[in-house]
């Protein structure tokens, strides 16, 4: 029995090798949701779009904006009009030509489709003007520094107007875009198969006939699939598997510090639950922050593969404020702050966390560290769905959550910390911070924006409504034959130039 198995395994291995050069198999951490850029909401969905749907703008590994379907753009003097030159000769997968009309349609759809989740991202656009077959102007009410970055993400993904008009809100079951690969088929929770689009404008850079995305949620199993040769690229290798993956000659590792963060959001003004010492006194929040050894946390839970952090931007980001370096752990100072706040004998606080392994591990380490400073943390585990609801409703005192990160700094801070912000679950409200963050939105001057963020940071450090802990690192595992892969801080898997040798 065993010998028979071994033999077939060998045979299988041989036949699999022959087929691999045609098909690239990518294992993702979870299944994508609906494949309509206007309705989609998951991170893995964005990974699939990288191959399926081209955007107006893209980013370089250094996070500079470059053209993709737009080749060039310019602002008018008061930065309320963005004129874009479009790539010529591009067609959607159904043959519909890509032109200024198509861009106008896409922006209108993002704004008006009732199911659209892109509304806030393109809210600043008041109108579009088709200036020529390949030239379009976007009109804004006021300058919007974040717009180009939005157009480098789902809001800038162009779908075929013909297909979209026909399918309406059901577009996602058979998406038609203009990316290097066209939609072939999908079995929910099992696979998404894309096939090469022969008429792609950059087809020379594409080396596969098909690409198959397989959702494999379990970290161990996902890596095992790479090691056994069943997949070629895996998304999010867990940090603790890094050593073992590196030791395997059949596996290559690539990584990039992400744009996102993980931290503890504290309810300071979202309903009655904010009325507790932690929510009312920033000294206790700062004591909590001081009690945590962020580097040790990173070492223990992530083998040091992530980046410790204390701001919404990672330390290697140009937006990081060097005036507030990552604090050393200071238990005595934490105790002193607690005493100052009126709790010389310590205090008990409650923090909710999702019931999955990694956040639980982080919270247990934080719990142990805080205990030494006299802060007893009670961890309340909740399912993610429940946690989200309680958080939105203000039914929590503190919550361990993160953010996957956006290219423009505004995306990591504005909606969380401005009064009435879309995801301001903390209920934080400070007129001065609002002013700085709003101002940073409406100027395209990078130096001026940075100045504004730094000023806001000074206040936010004092108030600490959100205690940042670390920035995850994207870690990809590649089969030994994979070449030309470039890691990006946005966690996407871009397939241009990627090849697989046998």
């Amino acid at each position: 029995m065993l010998r028979k198995l071994t033999l077939t395994a060998v045979l299988m291995g041989a036949s699999a090798l022959g087929a691999q050069a045609q098909d690239l198999r990518i294992a993702l951490q979870s299944d994508a949701d609906v494949l309509d850029p206007d309705q989609s909401r998951t991170f893995v969905g964005r990974i699939v779009y990288t191959a399926l749907c081209d955007k107006l703008v893209d980013i370089t590994p250094e996070l500079e904006l470059i053209g993709q379907l737009a080749t060039d753009w310019s602002w008018n003097d008061d930065q309320t009009q963005l004129t874009m030159q479009l790539r010529e000769g591009v067609t959607f997968h159904d043959g519909t030509p890509f032109n200024a009309e198509a861009v106008a349609y896409n922006i209108e759809r993002s704004q008006t489709l009732e199911e659209s989740r892109r509304k806030s991202e393109v809210a600043s656009i008041t109108g579009t003007e088709v200036l020529g077959e390949y030239e379009i102007r976007l009109d804004l009410e006021q300058p919007d520094a974040t717009l180009l970055a939005q157009l480098a993400d789902r809001a800038g993904m162009m779908i075929s107007p013909t297909a979209a008009r026909e399918a309406g809100a059901d577009f996602g079951s058979n998406p038609v875009c203009s990316g290097p690969f066209a939609f072939d088929n999908r079995v929910a929770q099992d696979r998404i198969v894309l096939k090469k689009y022969a008429d792609y404008w950059n087809a020379d850079e594409i080396n596969f006939e098909t690409v198959t995305y397989l959702p494999i949620p379990d970290n161990t199993v996902r890596l095992a699939n790479l090691q056994s040769g069943d997949v070629d690229i895996v998304d999010r290798v867990s940090a603790t598997d890094l050593e073992q993956a590196k030791a395997d000659p059949k596996v290559q590792i690539e990584s990039a510090v992400s744009l996102g963060y993980q931290g503890i959001t504290i309810n300071v003004g979202n309903g009655d639950k904010a009325k507790n010492p932690l929510g009312e006194d920033s000294k206790i929040r700062r004591a909590l922050s001081l009690a945590i050894d962020r580097e040790a946390l990173n070492q223990v839970v992530f083998n040091g593969a992530f980046a410790a952090g204390n701001q919404p931007f990672p330390p290697n980001s140009p937006w990081f404020d060097p005036d507030h370096p990552i604090p050393e752990r200071d238990v005595e100072a934490a105790k002193a702050l607690l005493a100052e706040a009126g709790y010389p004998d310590g205090i008990t606080i409650e923090i909710q966390a999702p019931n999955s392994t990694e956040p639980q591990q982080v919270m247990q380490v934080v719990q142990a560290m805080a205990a030494e400073a006299g802060i007893t943390i009670e961890i309340v585990s909740k399912e993610f769905a429940t946690m989200l609801q309680d958080q939105t409703a203000g039914d929590y005192t503190a919550s361990q959550v993160g953010w996957s990160g956006r290219v423009d700094p505004d995306g990591n801070i504005h909606q969380f910390l401005t009064t009435g912000g879309g995801i301001n679950d903390s209920g934080y409200s400070n007129a001065q911070v609002d002013e700085y963050l709003n101002a940073a939105r409406v100027t395209n001057d990078t130096a001026e924006r940075k100045e504004l963020y730094n000023k806001a940071r000074d206040i936010l450090m004092e108030d600490s409504p959100l205690v940042y802990l670390y920035h995850p690192t994207w870690i990809w595992g590649l089969a030994e034959g994979v070449e030309g892969f470039t890691p990006y801080a946005d966690g996407m898997i871009r397939l241009e130039g990627v090849s697989l040798s046998e």
Binding site: T240, V300, N355, S356, Q360, Q361, Q367, S381, K382, E383
Partner: protein, 292 residues
């Protein structure tokens, strides 16, 4: 996975048969082995606070995921806690989950089963239909839905498992009651006008007890696995307190670097469940009047 109970015969437990049962049970070697295993883990669970072991929640950043050694005979876990200590304390959670959830199932299932079986008619129809409905929903799916509804915690997992296991006991008890109620002595007790409560407590209940006891023992085994399964899905015991299932849930992320984290709790679950299964088997044989 729930056992499909092999019915044991009905038999009143008088003093004589009791000693016979015990004798039979004692001579049942594998049942004794099961008893010893269960006793061992029960003792571990009870003695956990006074055993000379480290605090199961004490972390040590310097000893994260260390292989078994003299200091840590079963190694340490992902944040430097002693695995052996967590295993011993985890016995409490796992055994409690097994026993209490079965207690819940018994507490609800047996009275309902007796009511359905003894009173028959309308009562029986309502209870039986509900039982069938619950039985038709797969055990684990039911438990997952209930545990998700109640929120992830050990107590809620026990309630979820207990409720999911209830229909088995309703059905078993009902069947037993119906067969006993048809016996001559019950009918004659009825005829001489003995109060219902008395008939129930004197004749029906003692006869229902043996098969229920067997099923309960076997269900404890099922319940321990169910708790481990729910914890494995993140719906059982919550950190930092240990249970075997939640230890396994974490351990599955470190299979390559720290296989001992998965090995010991897996073995512990296996042994305890085996113990209860052996015990249940022995009980069944001992209480079964057909075989001598």
């Amino acid at each position: 996975m729930a056992h499909v109970a092999e019915p044991a015969g009905a038999e009143a437990l008088d003093a004589k048969s009791e000693s016979r049962v015990w004798k039979k049970f004692r001579s049942h070697r594998s049942a004794m082995l099961g008893g010893v295993i269960v006793l061992f883990f029960v003792l571990l669970a009870i003695l956990a606070p006074i055993l000379p072991i480290p605090d199961p929640t004490a972390t040590d950043w310097g000893a994260v995921r260390k292989a078994p050694s003299l200091a840590h005979p079963m190694g340490t876990d992902e944040i430097g806690r002693d695995v052996m200590s967590r295993l011993i304390w985890g016995a409490r959670a796992s055994l409690m989950a097994g026993v209490l959830s079965v207690a819940i199932a018994l507490g609800i299932g047996v009275p309902l089963g007796i009511a359905a079986g003894y009173f028959g008619g309308w009562t029986d129809s309502v209870i039986s239909r509900c039982t069938e409905a619950l039985l038709a929903a797969p055990f684990l799916i039911l438990a997952i839905a209930l545990a998700a509804f109640l929120g992830p915690s050990l107590g809620n997992a026990m309630i979820a498992i207990g409720l999911s296991a209830t229909p088995i006991f309703i059905r078993l008890t009902r069947g037993q009651v119906i067969s006993v109620a048809a016996e001559d002595y019950v009918e004659s007790a009825n005829a001489i006008g003995l109060p219902t409560m008395k008939i129930l407590s004197r004749y029906i209940f003692p006869n229902v007890l043996p098969p229920v006891l067997v099923q309960a023992t076997l269900t404890v085994a099922t319940a321990i696995i169910a708790e481990a399964s729910l914890s494995f899905l993140g719906l059982g015991q919550q950190p930092p307190a240990p249970s075997w299932g939640s230890m396994l849930n974490t351990a599955k992320n470190f299979l390559n670097q720290a296989p001992w984290m998965a090995l010991w709790p897996g073995i512990a679950i296996f042994l305890v469940v085996l113990g209860f299964n052996l015990l249940g088997d022995g009980l069944r044989d001992a209480l079964d009047p057909r075989e001598t």
